[in-house]
Subunit: 204 residues, 2 copies
DNA sequence: TCAATTCTTTGTCGATCAACAAATAATGTG
DNA sequence: CACATTATTTGTTGATCGACAAAGAATTGA
């Protein structure tokens, strides 16, 4: 079997599609935009990725498993809750303001407003965002059960607070707020968590 | 002068357009969607509002001077910085989760991702968002100069922090996070400001 | 009454949208 | 070699996009 070999690098083309979707969102990118950016004719895109929606989905998964995975990594790899959230927020700012890349989080930016036809795309991205909030919640519950937090701390409220802030960082970055400015917001942003920690030493 | 009188209520039609744009964004709404929602033929829309973009702009202004003005009002009408921000955030949650209305903030949701042709719309809404951050900054500087804040508090960082959180609330609301949940995030959200206040009594 | 003015209806414009069909080209396997 | 298989090229499809032109309808002032 095995017919004519593919002439373009599928991963490379997918990465280009991801960047375009990242910058302009699903509906902000037309097939002809993709043709230009990926450098291959539309029929080839359909052959390799099935449809625009499937291509977008795959691009989102590429993002989520790559740069977008910073949150998962921070939550899993840091041992204290404070270290985890400090790193998570810091990595978020760095990613959202990376030079020569689209600003903001792809999953936040790429699907807020949508045509009737494409509500499924919007809903799916909403689910991704809810999953992120859930993972924050999980990590905070863990910390609470491990005795890191005050007994009256509310892990769910803290989780939704940080989810909101994280999403907001993305909007700010897309609006061009500079990296240093966003980094300076992390000190106030971490104070709710610090207030919820069981006291060791009083800092600030 | 004065020819045939208009048969439809311009303000009413504009409000319907605003709600549709609020829910689905500028590009998420087509002229034929507007025709259906406003109940008038497209040529009438052009006669009364000039273009889709001008209609959108007017709808945004209607929003900004109405429901969207909660921030301006809170900042202007409350005398202490804490009261102002408490009310601002609370009003934001209430507006963003109002039943029988689109969820989230129109100015945050209606233009994050956009086609090349409509970057002007995106840019303009970005400017609105930056203006909001600037007004938070102004109010915090006022408070600082009035001696409400600790000398080492950073009004600019606090302003951008609250701007980010506010924008994030909008994303959360649009994703269906319930009102009570969002209200419970306000307690952590206010702790950075409380930490920056010159001490009077220590409340948790 | 009639002319000027404004609104409404109807139909349509060229452009662009996502998606594919058909034909041609290049590979491996038997 | 021939044939099955897969890629690429080219062109087109019907739908929908935003925007308007032209003509009829309703009103006011002269």
């Amino acid at each position: 079997m095995a017919g004519r070999p593919r002439e373009f690098d599928r991963d490379e083309a997918l990465a280009k599609a991801r960047d375009l979707f990242w910058e302009r969102g699903y509906e902000g990118v037309s097939m002809s935009d993709l043709v230009d950016a990926m450098g291959i004719a539309s029929a080839r895109i359909y052959a390799a990725f099935e449809s625009k929606e499937a291509l977008f989905q795959e691009a989102v998964m590429l993002y989520a498993s790559g740069e977008g995975g910073f949150a998962t990594r921070a939550l899993a790899e840091e041992s204290t809750i404070l270290d985890a959230f400090e790193r998570l927020l810091r990595d978020a700012v760095l990613l959202y303001t990376r030079p020569n890349h689209p600003h903001g989080c792809m999953i936040v930016m790429a699907a807020t407003n949508y045509t009737i036809n494409n509500q499924a795309v919007r809903t799916r991205l909403g689910r991704y965002r809810r999953d992120r909030a859930a993972s924050l919640h999980e990590r905070l519950k863990m910390a609470s059960e491990a005795g890191e937090l005050k007994p009256d701390a509310d892990p769910r409220a803290l989780a939704e607070f940080y989810a909101a802030f994280l999403h907001g960082l993305s909007v700010q970055a897309a609006d061009g707020v500079p990296r240093d400015m966003l980094l300076s917001t992390l000190s106030p942003a971490l104070s709710p968590l610090k207030n919820a920690l069981l006291a060791k030493a009083d800092d600030l």
